[in-house]
């Protein structure tokens, strides 16, 4: 029973990270009908930004305080928002009227570019930046301790890390819900994803809303990157590839373009992965996501929450 609860908490923790990144994919797909392959790389940059902020604040130590980590997250959010905005502005916007194929190919190109630029070790101002050797993300002091309350009540060993992960993700999702449902920009975003041309005709500034969507998604990816590093302390340039891919699969499972679907898909994927892995198939963990993907595409391609929409001729 303990083991089960432990795995449940693990699954939810991983799943909530998937959800954070999946939301970025799904929102961009909703407004532009584009799969932003570079989103995983934004996640990666967020993790590195958090690590480098910690490096600057703690002077290259292996531990940091909770408040230092918060500063790290804020810096990461700023950096990634700019990055996300830049990607959209310079790589995707010129192709908005081209074929979908061109945009998809460009997205892959951007993803590769960022990944491989990060793979090179840069020397600047006396510090090393990026490179293929893993960069250490300092652990938050006290995060490894089990939560005493839960330990006493349920007898399960839940560490503060997991609580932090779940709480932060929950908070971000609440903020996102508020933005999407209760603000003008959020409403405009929903309008654009339902009907691009009608929204344009109603006076919605498409460029602004698209930038807004990218910034929102990138900010969430930045938070996700830092949270990921709390659980897995080393950041590598290729961490965004597989993780981003799986988060994307989660978005498809929930219904690409559908916001609650992405969150649900992420949690589901996290749980399934953790449970299958705990049953002894951890070597094939990466393949699980794609097997689920194939099954979803075969049975209900529009995803769990998606609606099959016939194309108007």
């Amino acid at each position: 029973m303990d083991y089960f609860l432990q795995q449940l908490v693990n699954g939810l923790a991983v799943g909530s990270l998937y959800a954070l990144i999946a939301l970025g994919y799904t929102m961009v797909y909703g407004v532009l009908r584009l799969i932003n392959f570079a989103h995983g790389e934004v996640f990666m940059v967020g993790a590195f930004a958090g690590a480098y902020t910690a490096r600057a604040l703690t002077g290259d130590k292996t531990e940091q305080t909770f408040w230092q980590a918060c500063v790290g997250v804020m810096v990461a959010v700023m950096v990634c928002s700019i990055l996300g905005w830049a990607i959209e502005r310079f790589a995707y916007r010129p192709l908005r009227n081209s074929s979908r194929l061109s945009a998809l190919i460009t997205a892959i190109g951007v993803s590769l570019l960022i990944q491989n630029l990060a793979n090179i070790e840069w020397q600047f101002a006396g510090y090393r930046w990026f490179g293929s050797t893993p960069t250490n993300y300092p652990a938050i002091i006290g995060a490894g301790e089990p939560v005493q309350v839960i330990h006493r009540l349920l007898g399960v060993n839940v560490v503060w890390k997991d609580v932090l992960l779940l709480a932060t993700t929950g908070a971000v999702l609440v903020v996102l819900w508020f933005i999407v449902q209760r603000t003008r920009s959020g409403k405009a975003m929903r309008a654009v994803s339902q009907s691009y041309d009608s929204a344009r005709l109603m006076g919605v500034n498409i460029d602004r809303i698209v930038s807004f969507t990218f910034i929102l998604g990138s900010a969430m990816a930045a938070v996700g990157g830092c949270l990921f590093c709390i659980k897995n302390p080393s950041a590598t340039p290729t961490m965004g590839v597989i993780f981003g891919l799986k988060a994307f699969v989660a978005a498809v499972i929930g219904g690409i373009g559908n916001i609650p679907g992405a969150a649900a898909g992420g949690l589901l994927l996290g749980l399934v992965e953790t449970f299958v892995s705990s049953m002894g198939y951890s070597r094939y963990e990466s393949a699980i996501a794609f097997v689920i993907l194939v099954m979803v595409l075969l049975i209900k391609p529009e995803g769990i929450f998606g609606k099959a929409a016939p194309e108007k001729v």
Partner: protein, 664 residues
Amino acid sequence: MAHGAIFLGIVVVIALLSPWLDVRGSGAWLSASSHTLMYDIALNVILAMGLNLVLGMTGQFSIGHAGFLAAGAYAAVVVAGKPEWFVPQLAFWHGTLELSVTAGFVAIMLTGTALAIAVAAVLGLVVGLPTLRLRGDYLAIATLGFGEIVAVVIGNSDYLDATSGAGIYAWRAPWLNSEAGKASPLHDVVQKHLFDTPYLVSSFWILLGTAVTIYVVRNIKYSTSGRALLAVREDVIASEAVGVPTTRYKVTAFVIGAALAGMAGGMLSHHKQLNPQDFTFLRSVEILLIVILGGQGSITGCILAAIAVTLVPESLRSGLPRSWNLDATLIDKWRLVVYAVLIIAAMLFRPQGLMGRFEVADVWRWARRKWGAGRAEGKVAQEVVTAGISTLVAEKEDLRAGQAAQAGPLLVAENVTMNFGGLCAVDSFGLSLRAGELVGLIGPNGAGKTTVFNVLTGVYRPTRGDIRVCERSIVKLRPHAISKRGVARTFQNIRLFANLSVLDNVMIAQHAHHRQGILAAVLRTPGFFEEEAESRKRALGYMDIFGLADKGREQANSLSYGDQRRLEIARALATRPKLLLLDEPAAGMNPTEKRELMDLIQTIRSRFGLTILIIEHDMKVIMGICERIIVLDYGKTIATGTPEEIRRNPAVIEAYLGASAKQG
């Protein structure tokens, strides 16, 4: 014909030269590294050709191609690399059948490659069949996932000796040096062959494989199947409407692409030791880069790009000055950055790549036409046109006879209802068309007229109701099958194959009547040439009726608006329909053009024995040619009758002009 002969000649010459190109003996012309480079180029060409078929010609975004390469390579290794399979095979070919050692090795390699092709093709079917009927993005996702699954399975599988890397030469040392190995009667044979003449086995076959691949893809491109693939790329809905079974073509192209990648994999396994790192997503991206840089749909472009993409990193690696002190891994990392930049730059500034859809031959022809003696080439010989028309005239008699024999109604629609979610677009629509009738369908905007057409042609499946053509229900059929049953249509917003020539547009429409399939196209049988010539004649005949005969080589989207509309009707006619559905054919025309159109419609009706259902807003056109008119409003039929009756019908007047007009 001449091209094929020249091509085979080149293949034979290359094949005969290949022993000279081999290494590890004296008399070699190339160093070992150039040799390896040549093979790498050849394999990249094969892979790019396969992906070009899927991505360049059919427009399907597949980014897991390395997965098929891996599947083929490891399948071949299992057959030809593992001692427990290899030794018995060699014993059979050499020992039992007494083939020479070299021939025995060749046989082993061929069985390995054959299995590689089979495995890759089956995987292509498994991946392609469920996903190709979905939207384009889903194929990208699915192939990405497929590539990853294959990479993970290979990386983690003990059986495939992932960590040590499997390959035909990798296992030899342990086996040769073991007790079992030394005692085996094949020991000396294997020892001699593997160390003395290894490349003799593979070089000829790799080059042959490359040549065959280019030949096959080229033959597919210049055939009905190739045109159909290009049509699928241009416009899936229009392709279905002219009888092209789009999903079947997408899957076929995908499977062929996968099989070619499998073949490359099989050959790779004999050429190099396999390393799971070679089959990651980056490999797929490299192949994608080649297709993009070369030009999606261009064979020569892809070959040039494959040569460039393989050679440039190598020459940079060896060519950069030593004093820069760059180590190999750093160069590799920058290579990938350069790939990425090239992909982005290509998409932003030159998405058609080096050569677009064109080949060197096309460029040559264009140059000749522009500056040389071939100025008259654009005009098609009059004899061909006349021959085309006479074919059509001869068929007219059969059509008339067929029409007379048609007893019951041609088309019956009963209670057809179409709901989109909560919106009822068409409500209990009923229609009965006798052969030879000319009926009009009118109504205010949004009444559901085009939706009726879409339901009749299978683009939508009706929520309720039945539709029968010649007594057989068509409700469950895909649009291309309905087109085969004799229902053709034009579109409200012209849906031509914009980037294809006028002639191609009309020739594609005859697809359903072609009997020669992709195999005949590849083998270039005499039947194939006959059918092509026949098809061309007919197409010219149709084009001549609409005054487009001398515009054959022009691109469809460069025609004037009126010509484009006429081309669409010509294309619909080329499917040899019994029933023709015209959706606002007079839109955007001036009065003269409209009069000509009315005459044209009457002419083709009598000439081809057609039944016509026409949607129009221009009352002069409708009242002028229709025998019967049906009026829709908000999805419901509010009136039917002769033009006179409709003109005076109060419900119709109210629908168009409002209730107050009734009193006025």
